[in-house]
C-alpha cells in the first residue's frame, strides 16, 4: 500500500510540474469566462424569444448550454488525462525514467495501478470542479438547474477515468506521440458515434441507432457522458423534453445501472490487458 501511495505521489508531482497542467488551467479559465459571457447574453435575451407553443425557452437554453459545458468539461478532462498518462510505460522507458522504478520491489501491476490512480486523483477533482463551476454559472445567471446534478458529474469523472485507463493501456504498446493520437481518435470516434445515435433516433434509423449502441458499449466513456446528458433533463417532459432528446447536448438513449456496471467491468478489463502487456514487456 505504501508503494502505491509513493507512486501516486510521484505521479501527482509530475502532473503539477508538467506544463500541460498550467495550459489546461488557462484553457479552463478561458472556457469558464466565455461560458459565463455566453450564459449572460443567452439568458438576457431568452425572455424576448417567443418559442413555439409547448417549449420552455429558459429550460431549453439552460439544458443546451449546460450540455455544451459538459462536453467542454469532458474534453478538458480527457486532455489532462491523456497528457498525464500517454507516456507512462513506453515513453518513460525510452527516456530512461521507468527503469529505476521498475527494478524496485514494486510489482509492475502496482506501478500501473498507482499511475492510473495518480492521474484520476488529478483529473476527477478537476472535472468535478469545472462541472460545478459551469453549473453555478448557468444556475446563477439563468436560474436553470439540472434535474439531477450529482450523477452526471460523477459520470463525467468516470468517463475521464476510463480514458486515462485506455491511455495507460496504449502507453504499454505505443510511443507517447502515437498513443496520444490514438486515444484522441478513439475519443473523437466515440463522440461522433454519440451524435450519430442522436441523429439515428431523430430519423428513426435502426442502423444508426444500432451502430451508436455498439460504439457506446465498446467505448463506455461516451455512453457515460451521454447518460449524464440524459440525467440533467431526466425530469423534463413535454415538447421541450422531446426537443432536448434530439441532442446534440441534451439527450441520450444509453444508460442506467447496467452501463455503470459495464463501465466498472470495462475498467477492470483494460487494467488486465495493460498489466498483461506490461508484464511481458522488455524494458
Amino acid at each position: 500500500m505504501s508503494a502505491v501511495a509513493t507512486i501516486v505521489g510521484y505521479g501527482l508531482r509530475e502532473a503539477l510540474r508538467r506544463k500541460v497542467f498550467a495550459v489546461v488551467l488557462l484553457l479552463t479559465l478561458g472556457f469558464l469566462g466565455l461560458y459565463w459571457l455566453a450564459n449572460h447574453y443567452v439568458f438576457r435575451d431568452v425572455d424576448d424569444i417567443s418559442p413555439p407553443v409547448g417549449i420552455d425557452a429558459r429550460t431549453f437554453a439552460g439544458a443546451f448550454m449546460f450540455g455544451l459545458a459538459m462536453f467542454a468539461t469532458l474534453f478538458l478532462g480527457v486532455v489532462l488525462a491523456v497528457f498525464l498518462t500517454l507516456g507512462v510505460v513506453r515513453g518513460d522507458a525510452e527516456r530512461g525514467l521507468l527503469q529505476p522504478l521498475v527494478v524496485r520491489p514494486v510489482g509492475r501491476s502496482t506501478l500501473l495501478f498507482a499511475r492510473w490512480l495518480g492521474a484520476v486523483a488529478v483529473c476527477a477533482p478537476y472535472v468535478g470542479a469545472v462541472y460545478v463551476a459551469a453549473m453555478l454559472i448557468t444556475g446563477l445567471t439563468g436560474h436553470w438547474w439540472p434535474d439531477h446534478a450529482l450523477v452526471p458529474g460523477l459520470e463525467l469523472a468516470a468517463g475521464v477515468a476510463i480514458v486515462a485507463a485506455l491511455s495507460l493501456l496504449g502507453s504499454v504498446f505505443l510511443t507517447a506521440t502515437a498513443n496520444g493520437i490514438a486515444v484522441f481518435m478513439i475519443f473523437g470516434a466515440g463522440l461522433v458515434a454519440g451524435l450519430l445515435g442522436s441523429i439515428g433516433h431523430a430519423l428513426n434509423s435502426h442502423t444508426l441507432q444500432h451502430s451508436a449502441k455498439i460504439a457506446a458499449w465498446l467505448i463506455p466513456f461516451e455512453a457515460l457522458y451521454q447518460d449524464g446528458l440524459r440525467q440533467i433533463t431526466a425530469d423534463t417532459t413535454g415538447f421541450t423534453g422531446f426537443l432536448l432528446q434530439l441532442g446534440p447536448f441534451g439527450g441520450a438513449y444509453t444508460g442506467g445501472a447496467l452501463l455503470r456496471l459495464w463501465a466498472v467491468a470495462y475498467l477492470v478489463l483494460i487494467g488486465i490487458l495493460a498489466v498483461a502487456g506490461f508484464a511481458r514487456k522488455d524494458l
Binding site: L97, Q99, P100, D282
Partner: protein, 280 residues
C-alpha cells in the same frame, strides 16, 4: 563462496537475433566482476535480465537463490542503467527518499547522508537533478542504486559520463563496497578501470562468453626482458618460470644482470585478442 548472481545457459532472442546464446556466469559474494565486450555483445541484456527488466528466452538467472526479476530478487539488488534519467524536479535528497520508500529502506536521513557523502554529493543534497551535470547525475544514480544496502549491485556503464576525477571516485567507491561484502557486476568499456578494480573479468562476444578469469589469469606471458651490461635483451615467448634459467645462462656467459621484467599482455591486449578487434 555464496553465489550472489548465478546465470546458467542464459539465452535471449530478439526476433532472429541471439542477444545471449547460452551464457554461464557467476558473481560470488563480495566479488567484483567486470563484464566486457563490444557494443551489441549482450552485456546490457545480461544485466537487464539479472534485474528483471528483460525476460530471458531460455536458461536461468538467480539472485541469491531467488529468480531474477521476482520481487524477492529485486529486494536484493541495486541497479544503475546505462541510459537513465531521473525526474528533473527532484532534489538529490528527495530522489533518494523516493527510492527508500520504494525499497522499504528504513535508513532514513542517516542513510541518505551517508550515500551522498559516499558519492561526494553532500554539498548538492538540496540541488535539483535538472541543475546537476551529467557526471553528478551519474554519481547520484550510483547512490540511488545503493539505497537499502543491496547485497548485489548491477552497474551498466556507471562511469561513462564521468571525468577522470569522477571515475576515480567511483573506483574508490567500488573498492569500498567490496570491502563491505557487496557483490558487483560492472559492465564497462573502460578496460583500465576494470583491470584496476575487478576480481574477475568476463568477456562477451555475440552473446557468448569467450574469456573469463582474473585479470592476472587472463594476462598472457609475452616474454622476459633482461637488462645486462650489454643492454636490454628480450626473450620472446619465455614465461616467468623461464626467468631463473635465463638469468643463470647469462651469468654463466659472463654477463652482468641488472634487472629482470616479466612481460605480460595487458587486459586491453587480451580483450582485443578475444573479440578479434570487433566493434559494432
Amino acid at each position: 563462496m555464496t553465489t550472489a548472481l548465478a546465470v546458467r545457459g542464459l539465452e535471449k532472442r530478439y526476433g532472429p537475433v541471439d542477444a545471449l546464446a547460452g551464457v554461464h556466469l557467476e558473481v560470488g559474494e563480495g566479488e567484483l566482476v567486470g563484464l566486457l565486450g563490444p557494443n551489441g555483445a549482450g552485456k546490457s541484456t545480461l544485466v537487464k535480465i539479472a534485474c528483471g527488466l528483460v525476460r530471458p528466452s531460455g536458461g536461468t538467472a538467480q539472485v541469491l537463490d531467488a529468480r531474477a526479476g521476482s520481487l524477492e530478487a529485486r529486494r536484493r539488488i541495486g541497479y544503475l542503467a546505462e541510459l537513465f534519467r531521473f525526474p528533473g524536479w527532484y532534489t538529490a535528497e528527495e530522489l533518494l527518499e523516493l527510492h527508500q520508500r520504494l525499497t522499504g529502506s528504513e535508513g532514513g536521513a542517516a542513510e541518505r547522508r551517508e550515500l551522498l557523502e559516499l558519492v561526494e554529493l553532500t554539498e548538492a543534497r538540496g540541488r535539483r537533478v535538472e541543475q546537476m551535470s551529467k557526471g553528478m547525475q551519474q554519481r547520484l544514480g550510483i547512490a540511488q542504486a545503493l539505497v537499502g544496502r543491496p547485497p548485489l549491485l548491477l552497474l551498466d556503464e556507471p562511469t561513462s559520463a564521468l571525468d577522470p576525477v569522477g571515475r576515480r571516485t567511483v573506483r574508490v567507491l567500488l573498492e569500498e563496497l567490496r570491502s563491505r561484502g557487496i557483490s558487483v557486476l560492472l559492465n564497462s568499456h573502460l578496460l583500465s578501470e576494470v583491470e584496476l578494480v575487478c576480481d574477475r573479468v568476463a568477456i562477451l562476444l555475440h552473446g557468448r562468453l569467450v574469456a573469463e578469469g582474473s585479470p592476472s589469469e587472463l594476462a598472457q606471458a609475452r616474454g622476459v626482458e633482461i637488462e645486462t651490461d650489454e643492454g636490454v635483451r628480450v626473450f620472446e615467448g619465455a614465461s616467468r618460470e623461464d626467468a631463473p634459467r635465463l638469468v643463470a645462462e647469462l651469468v654463466n656467459a659472463g654477463r652482468h644482470v641488472y634487472g629482470v621484467h616479466i612481460l605480460t599482455s595487458t587486459l586491453e591486449e587480451t580483450y582485443l585478442e578475444a573479440v578479434g578487434g570487433e566493434t559494432s
